[in-house]
Amino acid sequence: DAGVTQSPTHLIKTRGQQVTLRCSPKSGHDTVSWYQQALGQGPQFIFQYYEEEERQRGNFPDRFSGHQFPNYSSELNVNALLLGDSALYLCASAWRGRGRFSTEAFFGQGTRLTVV
């Protein structure tokens, strides 16, 4: 099991452009969360997807959107990129099933996005 995989590993975009980041969860996991980690900061929660729906959202503008596919993989889309969007974007997966409790969240290596 490769664990949580993210692509691409690095990306450079120009201000105003749009970007799509991808995440494949760990085998057996059904829930994907996305985090933004700016330099020198801890990860900040963007949103979480479960059963192909956004379930929780952090304090991020609508420029940040996502999607979860039937195979549980997920995409993070950011429109109208700003210089301040430059950060490491982390994906975390876990198994939630239909119960209230869930397993530990496993993190991917992240995608380093640079906006110039």
Partner: protein, 112 residues
Amino acid sequence: AQRVTQPEKLLSVFKGAPVELKCNYSYSGSPELFWYVQYSRQRLQLLLRHISRESIKGFTADLNKGETSFHLKKPFAQEEDSAMYYCALSPNSGGSNYKLTFGKGTLLTVNP
């Protein structure tokens, strides 16, 4: 709103010395607290969670609700403990799957 504060950005100790990484939180309910660790060039991984009451790699952490703290301790630091440590809070008792609020992290360096 929830907040996690790690007052030390950097912490340097010698091998064999005790180490304590501080974490304070603010949350009105009963949160679940975690410590995550990131070793050099590795991904973020869970070290321990307060509900487990385990000792992982010699580390322990006790939730003090009165002081709203969750400090991470190890009696004898090892060089391989050098890493970035993040304290995190989840508002739900449903495990680390839920929205995590992280502190800014403490970089621990254990010198030989």
